[in-house]
Symmetry: C2
Subunit: 150 residues, 2 copies
Amino acid sequence: VKTLAEGPLADWELQLWNALKSLGEKSLERVGRDIQSETGLSAADFGVLSRLEDLGGGTLRQQELADSMGWQRSRLSHHLTRMEERELVERGEGKTARSTALTITTKGRDAIRASRPVHAKSIRRHILSHLKAEDRKLLLALAYRLTADD
Amino acid sequence: VKTLAEGPLADWELQLWNALKSLGEKSLERVGRDIQSETGLSAADFGVLSRLEDLGGGTLRQQELADSMGWQRSRLSHHLTRMEERELVERGEGKTARSTALTITTKGRDAIRASRPVHAKSIRRHILSHLKAEDRKLLLALAYRLTADD
DNA sequence: AAAGATTGATGCATCAATCTTC
DNA sequence: GAAGATTGATGCATCAATCTTT
């Protein structure tokens, strides 16, 4: 454990912090915009629908879905209300013990299937194509260190 | 210019994308929470007030401030309305030609001064202390390549 | 007209409080 | 009571429409 510096941030420190901030912001923003404008799904919609297909074969309990997205129940619930209005998803079909099942609709399935190629293409275009081979290892290691729980 | 791959994202591609996403999200979230909980300012408030002090010596035109934050006028305007209610900032004092000056209040000055050390400490603790020397180069280079306009 | 700024509407994120079913 | 889920309130982000001053 090393001792932290004190006092105001030096220029090099600020530069690193700004680099990290804009990396994340720009990446999310660009991919998000591509998906939104080409398919009508938001990044959040995309996350919900793709998990419904991948994890549940179309049906899932809300808590599992929320966990896998790193969301709180209430955020998911609000989001599902909006998605249900758009008929991408259906609540309540097939109640099982103690939980209400969540089901993807046909419209939702069509939407996610049409969106996957856009998602892949956008990530390759904006992100992956800019990574050099040696960046990859470093990036994974960095993410591991920075996102591990303190 | 290299040709992009086609088809669904491979595992290694998804891993990189997820690494990048969580890097940005977690970093912003942690530093944001520290500032918010210890000083009562949001990250956005911090950005506004620190720029008012640094760039304008306390007074600035809104458009300049918005530009330097990468915000749209309307976002800034809404945000200032809320900050004005909290008396961190004052609009309209010292109208000059064609523009309304924005001024930091005494309360705002006190707040930003108290927050800077928290900001610096949080960034060092959550981010900088986890970076190895070779990460720094990567991060700067990556930010440069990824955030350059396509 | 055009630059500077504001407003209103809508959707999203978070928190705390609540409802429901076992 | 406790797990699963919903609701209401508040603040924030974005868009398009509007107002103001020269």
